[in-house]
Point group: C2
């Protein structure tokens, strides 16, 4: 990672790719994660590889939701763990959220490798290993969650999530914050807050907004939440992808 | 592969992903190939996952170029070998071309695995293992080619190729046919015939055009070549990606 010069024009793309490749080698990321990341990188390329203004607004709204939450949980899969382990730990600290591992291809070995990886990056508590509750309307393996984690959370951050699971969480009535680079995919479409941005930029920016809003009154946080327009944000991202090319 | 039903709405995407994953497992495809394929799949999604009319014209022009060539060569990398091994062998037969392996991350093991894989799919002769010549203006490893293969070829098909190598081949004066799903990337930009299409659809379609043109006179082939407008094709693909979203 130290070998990639920060002023390289494709720095973020190279860094992302490098981290995912490492994740696959360490058994954290499924091979399909490399494919998903490649797919995301094409959308990022079309977006101009920057946080567009509507994404920054979504990230501020996400921070406000997390600060207002009674029990916020950040969901971690193999790509998230590979790409932003330390950044997710920092966000969890900033908004007092739990970290919970949830995998599409769940094996005990990968669960353990990811838990260790998060602890290496400063996590003190990691949920998801108990798996003593189920998300309704989702097939068995992917439905596994912790009863005192995602199951009872009011606000969940689900980055790089598949559509079925995002929908099932939405149906449970949770406030969902989705990070995804394709504004037309199902996960951002069902989310209360769709963040169309590269997770590498999005997570640190949500943390920054959370720190900025740390002393805000409930009224101010609620006004940030209400001012955010999800339809407008999805349209702005789609327009950028279309016109930016 | 037999498990994916052909009428599945995402049949091609699933098939492609499955073949690349297999390629990685067999040591044919580099892990980065999975990423590149994911990136391509996003562009294919934006194209509508079909061969657009301008791509079909490019594929017909490619067939005409190959039939007119004195010494056509089809370049094979790890993704090409994983995705369309039998299809490349068929195309080579249809236009009497050589198959030559050329890898971005060249190791003796991968060269051998790919040669074996191509032979399993019907190839009788496979070039690239001699590596007794060099493409000028390219760093050492990637420059390696066979003296009686790509080095002396007049027409080369270079699918899913990186920009540096595509440019270096162009500078050697070769007629280059590039297959790539991103019309803005450097390889299609420098190619005489940019084919903006999924390689899984493109290669069989070039073969079909070649069979259709097999008995054509030189005049007719030259007219197919001359009627193809590369700028128009690149613009049509870009427009489709932009409007299709």
């Amino acid at each position: 990672e130290e070998e990639i010069p920060e002023d390289h024009p494709r720095y973020q793309d190279l860094l992302t790719r490098h981290r995912i490749e490492n994740g696959v080698e360490k058994g954290i990321t499924h091979l399909q994660g490399m494919h998903a990341e490649g797919r995301g990188s094409a959308f990022d390329y079309l977006l101009g590889e920057e946080t567009i203004p509507s994404a920054d607004e979504a990230e501020r709204a996400a921070a406000a939701h997390l600060l207002l939450a009674d029990h916020p949980v950040l969901s971690i899969n193999g790509n998230v763990a590979a790409l932003v382990p330390g950044e997710m730990v920092e966000l969890a600290d900033a908004v007092d959220a739990d970290l919970e591992i949830n995998l599409f291809n769940r094996t005990p070995e990968r669960m353990q490798a990811i838990a260790d990886h998060l602890r290496d990056h400063g996590a003190t508590a990691v949920k998801g290993l108990e798996a003593d509750a189920r998300i309704p309307n989702l097939d068995h393996k992917r439905a596994k969650v912790d009863a005192d984690g995602i199951y009872e959370a009011d606000v969940v951050v689900v980055p790089l999530e598949d559509g079925d699971r995002a929908e099932a969480l939405e149906e449970m009535g949770k406030t969902e914050i989705v990070i995804d680079l394709n504004p037309l995919s199902r996960s951002p479409q069902v989310a209360e807050v769709p963040v169309v941005d590269n997770i590498i930029r999005a997570v640190p920016n949500i943390t920054e907004h959370a720190r900025d809003l740390a002393d805000a009154e409930t009224d101010e946080l609620q006004s940030v939440v209400e001012q955010f327009d999800r339809e407008e944000a999805l349209e702005a991202a789609e327009k950028r992808i279309r016109d930016g090319l």
